[in-house]
């Protein structure tokens, strides 16, 4: 297969970037999208150029490192699929493929296709945990949790923190990312104790990082490689407003 690749090249955060076009020949349909880029890089290096920098590690859709904006969609055309899981057999011979980094104020570009997602980390620092010290846990089965709830909590917990939801959203909102964690904990008994403070702090941090608001277009759910449901955003909103009410009652 042959492809025309239009790839965003940017030296660093300070310099301006631009698209560069590459013609790539003899791509195997069995290659993954990132293997296709490895193949391109080998040729670029062979010609004395600097390879395209992109983030990756596990190459099996679980670490959340990779994330490319491919033909206007985070992680490309396939639903429930990360960039590293995408295979070239999903494209047509001769296709033009436009490859960009995530674009969001809270995710500044570091180099080429690599962005800085430390804003996501700080949202987790604000409250993405249950406060329990090592060694102080009760026996696991002393607190039963209904299977339905446990399964729902699991669904929320599968977020890999890649940032596709932000890239998909026209407002660059991080609601789905924050909601997944908030909902996971809000649903289970262990997490309920500090649920109110958690949602308060995480939402505050999300705003401070410059992520946008949610206008319910649901593109985040559509493009989430793990298929995380926007229902969790509704749950988060409920938690958020009830935390406000609690606060008002206290004062």
């Amino acid at each position: 297969m042959n492809f025309i690749l239009k790839i965003w090249r940017q030296k660093n955060a300070q310099t301006k970037g631009s698209f560069k076009t590459y013609l790539l020949k003899d791509v195997s349909p069995e290659m993954s999208f990132l293997e296709m880029l490895d193949y391109l890089n080998k040729q670029i290096i062979g010609n004395g150029g600097e390879p395209v920098t992109f983030e990756h590690d596990c190459r099996e859709g679980i670490c959340g490192s990779c994330g490319l904006y491919i033909n206007g969609r985070p992680h490309g055309p396939m639903r429930n699929t990360t960039t590293c899981e995408l295979h070239m057999r999903e494209f047509n011979d001769g296709d033009s493929i436009v490859i960009e980094p995530w674009r969001a104020r809270a995710f500044p570009v570091i180099k080429d296709l690599v962005v800085d997602r430390s804003s996501f980390e700080r949202i987790m620092h604000a409250g993405g945990f249950i406060s329990v010290n090592t060694g102080s846990a009760p026996e696991s089965n002393s607190n039963p949790v209904s299977k339905t709830i446990a399964d729902k909590a699991f669904d929320a917990a599968t977020c890999i923190g890649c940032g596709a939801c932000v890239a998909a959203c026209k407002n660059s909102s991080a609601m789905l990312y924050a909601a997944a964690k908030i909902a996971q904990y809000a649903m289970i008994p262990q997490g309920k104790v500090e649920a109110k403070e958690r949602v308060d702090k995480m939402v505050k941090q999300m705003d401070a990082e410059g992520f946008g608001f949610c206008s319910n277009t649901y593109s985040c759910e559509f493009d989430c490689p793990k298929g995380i449901s926007v229902d969790f955003i509704a749950l988060m909103n409920r938690e958020f407003f009830s935390s406000k009410v609690c606060k008002q009652k206290q004062t």
Partner: protein, 639 residues
């Protein structure tokens, strides 16, 4: 010259840890504030340790090469995590878990350490539950378990096929809590390139900031390595592409002994190689063997579509050879059996290098839904990668490099032979002998990090309460930084033509062919020679584009590959000296008449710990004898 002292405490096996722990020295809360600890690695072992140490009040600095601690390769573990809870009333116990691990490891692990790992396993599950890890549950609301990886009890806790991810997010959450509290400072996007020894003690590390290229000096009173496994020595493996030996190797070069480097597990069920540019093999969890049946055609070179091959023309070779365990034989046995069939010409697929894993019977019996509930995400993953729907036709699988039982030698305190330098999780050698049983690594990593290291390290640090901050402006730090700088300059200045990945691929092939699933003296010696030649070629022809002062993946890769030549050589040397077959280490010269591994307990019941003697000198072998008081050494039989 080093002396090995494993520091195994006296007393009956079941009481060793509790008695020893009760007598360990402590550091008072006020003094903990004066002490700094470096933890390299944020997998289950590292982030568990860092958060537990932070909770205790130490000042912890944590490093990883990814942009977030949540991306450590523990995230990829699928099948589950073991604990001796006996929730099934199937007569499980700490002793049985211990016994299974010692046996499964083919009697090449230390009894005392394995027992302790089994002992703390229940605490790990309780802690994870409290942290909100969404393990699978029964309808009554209690935790569910399944049977996994060659044992006869159901002791494996799981979260669908994403147990590692869920456990890692548990440790990550506890890490975040400490980061928020200020007890832990996180340094992501850092490569650790050397450990710094001051007056004989580990007192810091040299890192490269991957964004700016700056070399940094970080000091502490003790250094903990939790840097994971080095299965990427085979190039193609189930590990993350950034996984490396370099951090552990820098410790080895500074005098820490490296144990059993050739004990490396080849996992039987990975998706086979599909194209020449492939750089990663994706694991299909071993749990699939609970319901999937492994087979090849009875006829050599049978090219028919698998669904067209009738039942009587299929060879379910695991069930045939091992009627007692069938498809659930341990990994090493299953891997070698697959290789044996493929080498004999019965393999399937274009390359003939794969076997079938078939769910037809399970789907017929249990229904599609039950199978989807158990393995849905794995089936999807398989389809994404291969384009084939495993509900309709069997998966194709082949063995792949997966887990390193070998690693830095540690004593009972998890300290290496360098005072103040600890190794935990997959980076040490301690608990799995010559073969790891499924679901016991997550368990060991968390046990090490959360429950063992925080106790043992305090005893060491009790001597450091008056030391004060460790300065970084001394000659030890200067020299270490200079050495790293020189190495980087050297690699950049070669200006050759071949990329790091290309060298890595060639190196991996040498290792796979000569030090893989089956080994013999001739092949191993040849491997050593080939590695030497390739290393020379590397230093003449490596091409690293770009500069050293910004994000440069090619430079990062080249530095890691440069270390793998030495790692590979030591693996071959280690495999050569071990004139027996045990666990994952199979020597052609040492097999039974039926082709099973033949151990030699009289001469080889020891840990092989290697001491670096300089780049040009042969390493020195030390032997730590293994004494078995509680398990009887038997031939491992799964027939």
């Amino acid at each position: 010259m080093q002396k090995l002292d494993s520091k195994i405490p006296e007393g009956p096996l079941a009481e060793k840890w509790s008695r020893y722990k009760a007598r360990l020295r402590l550091v008072s809360p006020a003094n903990k504030k004066k002490i700094e600890i470096i933890v390299v690695g944020t997998g289950l072992a590292g982030s568990g340790a860092a958060s537990a140490l932070g909770e205790l009040g130490y000042n912890v600095k944590v490093f990883c090469f990814q942009d977030s601690p949540r991306r450590a390769h523990s995230v990829a573990a699928q099948g589950g995590i073991n604990a001796a809870k006996n929730y099934r009333n199937d007569n499980d116990s700490v002793y049985r878990l211990f016994h299974d691990m010692v046996k499964g490891g083919d009697y090449r692990a230390r009894e005392s350490n394995v027992y302790r790992a089994a002992e703390v396993s229940n605490d790990v599950i309780d802690h994870f539950t409290a942290l909100g890890v969404p393990f699978a549950r029964d309808y009554g609301g209690s935790l569910d378990t399944r049977s996994f990886g060659g044992v006869q009890v159901s002791r494996t806790f799981y979260a669908k096929g994403q147990t590692g991810q869920q456990c890692l997010y548990g440790t990550y959450s506890s890490l975040n809590r400490q980061i928020a509290k200020g007890t832990v400072k996180m340094f992501p996007r850092r490569d650790m390139l050397d450990v710094v020894i001051v007056d004989g003690k580990a007192r810091g590390i040299i890192t490269r900031n991957l964004l700016t290229g700056e070399l940094e000096r970080h000091s502490a009173h003790a250094v903990v390595l939790a840097t994971g496994g080095y299965g990427t020595v085979f190039y193609l493996s189930t590990l993350g592409l950034g996984s490396n030996a370099s951090a552990a190797w820098s410790a080895y070069r500074k005098g820490a002994l490296f144990a059993n480097p050739s004990f490396i597990q080849i996992h039987p069920t990975s998706i086979p190689v599909l194209n020449e540019y492939q750089c990663k093999l994706t694991l299909m969890s071993e749990s699939l063997r609970n319901d999937g049946r492994v087979w090849v055609p009875k006829e050599q070179g049978d090219k028919r579509h698998p669904t067209e091959i009738p039942e009587e023309e299929r060879d379910y070779y695991l069930e045939r050879r091992y009627p007692a365990f069938g498809n659930l034989v341990p990994r090493d046995v299953a891997s070698r059996a697959a290789k044996e069939r493929c080498d004999a010409g019965y393999g399937v697929g274009d390359t003939g290098l794969s076997v079938y894993l078939d769910f037809k019977d399970a789907i017929e019996k249990q229904g599609k839904k039950a199978i989807r509930d158990k393995y849905g995400n794995l089936f999807e993953m398989y389809e994404k990668i291969t384009g084939i729907n495993p509900y309709n036709q069997p998966m194709r699988i082949y063995p792949a490099g997966h887990y390193t039982m070998g690693g830095l030698w540690v004593d009972y305190n998890l300290m290496t032979t360098i005072p103040g330098l600890y190794a935990i999780g997959e980076s040490n050698f301690s608990d799995h002998g010559a073969n790891r049983l499924g679901a016991s690594s997550l368990m060991q990593c968390c046990g090490d990090g959360y429950f063992i290291l925080p106790n043992t390290i305090s005893a060491y640090l009790a001597d450091d309460i008056r030391t004060g901050t460790i300065p970084t402006d001394n000659s030890a730090f200067e020299e270490a930084e200079k050495a790293v700088e020189d190495r980087i300059k050297r690699i950049m200045s070669v200006g050759g033509k071949e990329t790091a990945s290309s060298f890595h691929k060639r190196l991996g092939k040498i290792m796979w062919d000569h030090c893989g699933m089956r080994r013999d003296a001739e092949g191993l010696m040849k491997g050593v020679e080939m590695l030497k030649e390739l290393e020379e070629e590397f230093w003449e022809n490596i091409c690293v584009p770009g500069s050293t002062d910004d994000l440069n993946h090619e430079l990062e890769k080249a530095l890691k590959v440069a270390d793998f030549f030495e790692v590979g050589r030591l693996m071959c040397e280690d495999a050569l000296q071990r004139e027996e077959s045990c666990g994952a280490h199979f020597r052609e010269e040492h097999q039974t008449e039926t082709g099973e591994a033949k151990r030699n307990d009289t001469d080889f019941a020891y840990v092989a710990a290697w001491e670096f003697q300089g780049a040009k000198t042969e390493p020195k072998l030390h032997k730590e004898p293994l004494r078995f008081k509680y398990v009887e050494l038997k031939e491992r039989s799964y027939k």
